[in-house]
């Protein structure tokens, strides 16, 4: 006797708990791997899952095993040329374990590799940044959806029942199903009246008519007042919230004093702003401007990885930003955000120019501007000039940091506005 059971609708993901436990156990390694991935990834690519590698020796589950050596005799299939007593050189990996599959060698035998989902990846990314929980959920959620009316459907939850339409439908149905009977019935009734007027009450024709009328009445009564067929429900569908577009300017000093470490810090700063914009705008453009004494619009690769020598003129980048806005991003159509990272070096005479450029030309067009000064204990002209900008513009944020966890406060105002 066999029983056949359809289990397909049973919950899947029975292993979700085990997966979480695995991630928890290898928290440190996964975190390291995510940090590596963040430095390698493009800014606009931050929002996806990731392949993680953990050294296999960390995840190994040890058992008592035989080591190499001693005397071992093994049987193998597929003899071609051997006869008893043949002596053959010992293969490098010991007998039996000759061919490794091609994919193993690509992955490397020493790593345990698996995929992190997008949510898990962002979780780890946020961890370092010490974001408040509310902000985390705000960033990690999928693009905002809004539920809108989309006419009526014939099935749905009782709470969405549309009474008027349902009754209107019922009326139409009743009319359609009973009209011919009603018409016939009134004909018969007229006939009956005329018969009654002409004949005695016990005329068999009257009885026949009465029977026929009764039958019609039963037929009419059998049509239900309300049928499930009549029910109409309000339908709502989820559509993405129509949001405007934003452009984000990444400005970074690439003069000799900015080493790779500082650039990695700066990258996280840009990433965070990018994630924020991605959640709030349908379309987000990113413009990379690097500068030393002259500014240049470049692609991401060149932005993060090239290094120039020489002095620093910050206003060159601001000028370029202004020009690009003028040419391509009209403030009327675009929400403009600026993020600048630097180690604070600037030509002394240039800092004042920067201030006036910002106050007079840029800030009126911008939603928000964040300035990050990395690992500089000895602030110079640029910092004090920027402080004056901040006094006048509440949407100008600036901060000196030494560690990734200090990045978030630069954006605090920005996220707070979101909450409201």
């Amino acid at each position: 006797m066999s029983t056949i059971i359809d289990r397909r609708l049973n919950p899947k993901n029975k292993s979700a708990v085990n997966r979480q436990r695995f991630l928890k156990r290898f928290h440190a390694q996964v975190r390291r791997a995510v940090a590596d991935a963040v430095s390698k990834r493009s800014v606009t690519d931050i929002d996806s899952g990731e392949k993680i590698r953990i050294p296999a020796r960390d995840t190994a589950e040890p058992e008592f095993r035989h080591g190499m050596g001693g005397r071992r005799e093994m049987v193998h299939p597929g003899n071609k040329e051997f006869v008893k007593g043949d002596r053959i050189p010992r293969p490098e990996t010991g007998t039996g374990k000759r061919g490794r599959r091609a994919d193993d060698s690509i992955e490397g035998m020493d790593d345990f590799v698996f995929e992190l989902t997008r949510e898990e990846f962002l979780d780890y990314f946020f961890e370092d940044l010490e974001l408040p929980d509310l902000v985390k959920t705000q960033l990690a959620r999928d693009p905002a959806q809004k539920s809108v009316r989309a006419g009526f459907t014939s099935d749905g939850a009782p709470a969405n029942l549309h009474v008027l339409r349902s009754l209107r439908g019922a009326l139409a149905r009743r009319t359609a199903l009973t009209s011919s009977s009603l018409r016939r019935k009134s004909e018969l009734e007229r006939e009956l009246e005329s018969l009654r007027a002409a004949c005695p009450e016990d005329d068999p024709r009257i009885e026949d008519l009465l029977k026929e009328i009764e039958a019609l009445q039963r037929k009419i009564d059998a049509v239900p007042f309300l049928d499930t067929f009549d029910l109409r429900y309000r339908s709502r569908i989820q559509v993405p919230v129509p949001t405007a577009q934003a452009v984000m300017f990444c400005l970074m000093d690439v003069s000799g004093s900015m080493d790779q470490n500082k650039k990695d810090l700066a990258k996280r700063f840009f990433l965070l702003l990018y994630l924020f914009l991605r959640r709030n705008y349908e379309k987000t453009d990113v413009i990379f401007i690097r500068h030393h004494t002259v500014a240049q619009e470049v692609d991401e690769e060149a932005f993060f990885h090239s290094r120039e020598s020489g002095g620093t003129v910050v206003s060159s980048a601001l000028n370029l930003m202004r020009d690009i806005i003028r040419e391509r991003y009209s403030p009327r159509e675009w929400n403009i955000y600026g993020a600048q990272a630097s180690d604070g070096d600037n030509w002394p005479e240039d800092s004042g120019i920067c201030r006036s450029l910002l106050c007079e030309e840029l800030m009126p067009k911008l939603q928000y501007y964040a300035y990050l000064e990395i690992e500089n204990d000895d602030s110079q002209g640029l910092w004090s000039e920027y402080e004056r900008v901040a006094e006048n513009w509440p949407n100008f944020a600036m901060r000196q940091i030494h560690h990734v966890s200090e990045i978030y406060p630069v954006f605090r105002e920005l996220f707070r506005k979101q909450k409201a």
Binding site: K14, R19, F64, G67, V75, G78
Partner: protein, 494 residues
Amino acid sequence: MKPLSEGSEWTFELLERYDAEIGRVAAEYGLDTYPNQIEIITSEQMMDAYSSTGMPVFYHHWSFGKQFLNVERSYRRGHMGLAYELVINSNPCIAYLLEENTMTMQALVIAHACYGHNSFFKNNYLFRAWTSADAIVDYLVFARNYIAECEERFGQEAVEEILDSCHALMNYGVDRYRKPPPLSMEEERLRQKERAEYLQTQLNDLWRVTVPTREKSGREASERFPREPEENLLYFIEKNAPLLEPWQREIVRIVRKIGQYLYPQRQTKVMNEGWATFWHYTLLNRLFEEGLVTEGFMLEFLGSHTNVIFQPSYDHPYYNGINPYALGFAMMSDLRRICEQPTEEDRRWFPEIAGSNWLETLDFAMRNFKDESFIAQFLSPRVIRQFKLFSVLDDDSEDQLVITGIHDEEGYRHVRQVFSEQYNLGNLEPDIQVYRVDTRGDRSLTLRHYRHNRRPLGDTTEEVLRHVRRLWGFSVHLESLNPDGRVVETFHCA
């Protein structure tokens, strides 16, 4: 006869009809089975089942998450197809069928799992002696609930530590020669409390003597505990580790019981798969003879059957040892041939079965052997020639490997003997036993490794010892001995 179906789509009605027909033919051949519970599942569910040793319910542990991530990754990248089926040694016998299978594959799987494996589980002597098919699902439920409860009371990490250590010793939680009592969840639950109390008193007795007292006499002092070396490390720890809490002992016991349940499967891979493969082949061919399945069905069936029993040779890039399906199927089919059409050679090698009733002979072999003895008894020269088996000696005192036997008259016996040894779990795993506990001194535990063929312990030894140390609670020593009784290597974990 009209075929049961023509297309490749399966439906529940068709599954029932195929199952009924396969079951009828199986009964005609005398296969004795548990009732079947056939469950259709999705590929995600199959991956879930995969990662908890195929069990329908299991406790939670990170290592199963690791397994899951591994399976998921290879599956998503298309490196690995999922097994068509998974079958559980339980009563009723639970078999999982993947929803993506075609009708032909479902029929193959039903024949293979629900009648092949099922009858093996029910009748093979190891499974009969070691597993309680009636109680296993209940026991797993008990185990999962118990461990979840422990996690709640004592913290996930504390439980995980114990489980890690127990898993490291899982293969050493088996009584190789004593038959264990059958499992029952109700009794487990009832006895568990009693056992906890009883154990604690037992322990107190054992360790009472450890309060340092003046030595009474030399003879008493030298009396060893345990008197006889104990091969079941987990059992010894469960009963004797001084510091374990009752709940920790219970977890040791759970892992031990589950290890024991899986023990017969590890010893009968070739036989079990060979038996199931032989029967899906025989049963479906019978349906074809009766006209119940079409030629198209047979073509698809034979295609995947051929893949299953593919054996790459030793120099093939995909070679990864002997394929148990291939060897098992070849041996089972060969047994039938020896019974039905014995050659002169068969009569010399197998005088007692050549020409006998094949159904009875196969049934006898299935009931009374495990891989090691099955090969020693029934591997015929013909199968050795078919696989072109040869034996290689790897002796670290020689700088070259030596071929010690091939598929010729001179080599058959030697190859067969070496091959059979290869399936002896006792040879595959290092022989490690509890030797001595220093009950009067520092309470240290000494294990002994008895070397076979001078083979040393591998590089994981220190790490496993740390797990033993965690369970035992005091320092642990491991002595590795040559057959002459000399200690050649020692490991310590203080």
